[in-house]
Symmetry: C2
Subunit: 148 residues, 2 copies
């Protein structure tokens, strides 16, 4: 899943201090997402601290990594050929469906791709798979930040 | 917002190691929720590590605290008069609407209450207020865990 090429976050936004995917936040999750044929992919390895208290991954941590991973699809879409970001987007809406528990002991495979776009918003579909099964599905809507 | 009485989590589930609200998880957020007239309330004070990288609170951390705070409403509903929990619930679905940015520098006031119930599921409505304004709204659906 990893690649010789740096992750999307390292290439496009290395100075970010985001809790979920900021590579400059040493106390955050430091999610790293990579380009795939049909969207973006990432692996997340849960730690004990990320428990829901019942042996599974906390639903909020799942929300965090699926939101940030969807953000990587948006970042990639926004970057020019020279890897320069010309506009910025934020999550306006996030819908999660927790279909099965995600056990702490197994790595999570994330996938995301853009499903719809207008001038002012993007829709992203994302999944979390663990032990070969889709356990959580997410849909997010992203709004373009006004130019500074 | 705090009370002389211990929080719902301390009273009903003190041994929990949940990332968001487990009082036994020293590296988690340790959210504490309290009974109010019209539901449950909590205060969350963001730290720099919880940034979205742009000066606001990370959307996944917001998801975590609203999910766990909604869980406090569910815990309270499930507890008998003797504070014994007879059944357990998990989040099956979570929908978040991020209306305004939640700046890191200000405490967040959370509110949640149950809006609908059947034998097998509960619906909970929750809000995050900061600087006097509702910034995020959440709806969650909770499913009853099969008896062990």
């Amino acid at each position: 899943m990893t690649s010789a090429r740096p992750s999307i976050q390292e290439r496009l936004y290395p100075q970010s201090t985001c809790f979920g995917c900021g590579q400059a936040n040493g106390d955050g999750l430091q999610l790293k997402s990579y380009v795939a044929n049909d969207g973006v992919v990432a692996t997340f390895v849960p730690k004990d601290v990320h428990s829901n208290g019942m042996g599974s991954l906390n639903g909020g941590i799942i929300a965090t990594i699926l939101d940030c991973h969807s953000g990587a699809a948006v970042l990639l879409d926004s970057a020019g050929d020279d890897d320069e970001l010309t506009d910025f987007w934020v999550t306006a809406g996030l819908e999660l469906r927790y279909r099965l528990p995600t056990f702490l002991a197994h790595p999570c495979e994330l996938h995301a791709h853009i499903t719809e776009r207008t001038d002012s918003s993007l829709l992203v579909s994302a999944t979390l798979k663990s032990e070969g099964k889709v356990r959580v599905q997410a849909q997010s809507r992203w709004a373009r930040l006004p130019q500074r």
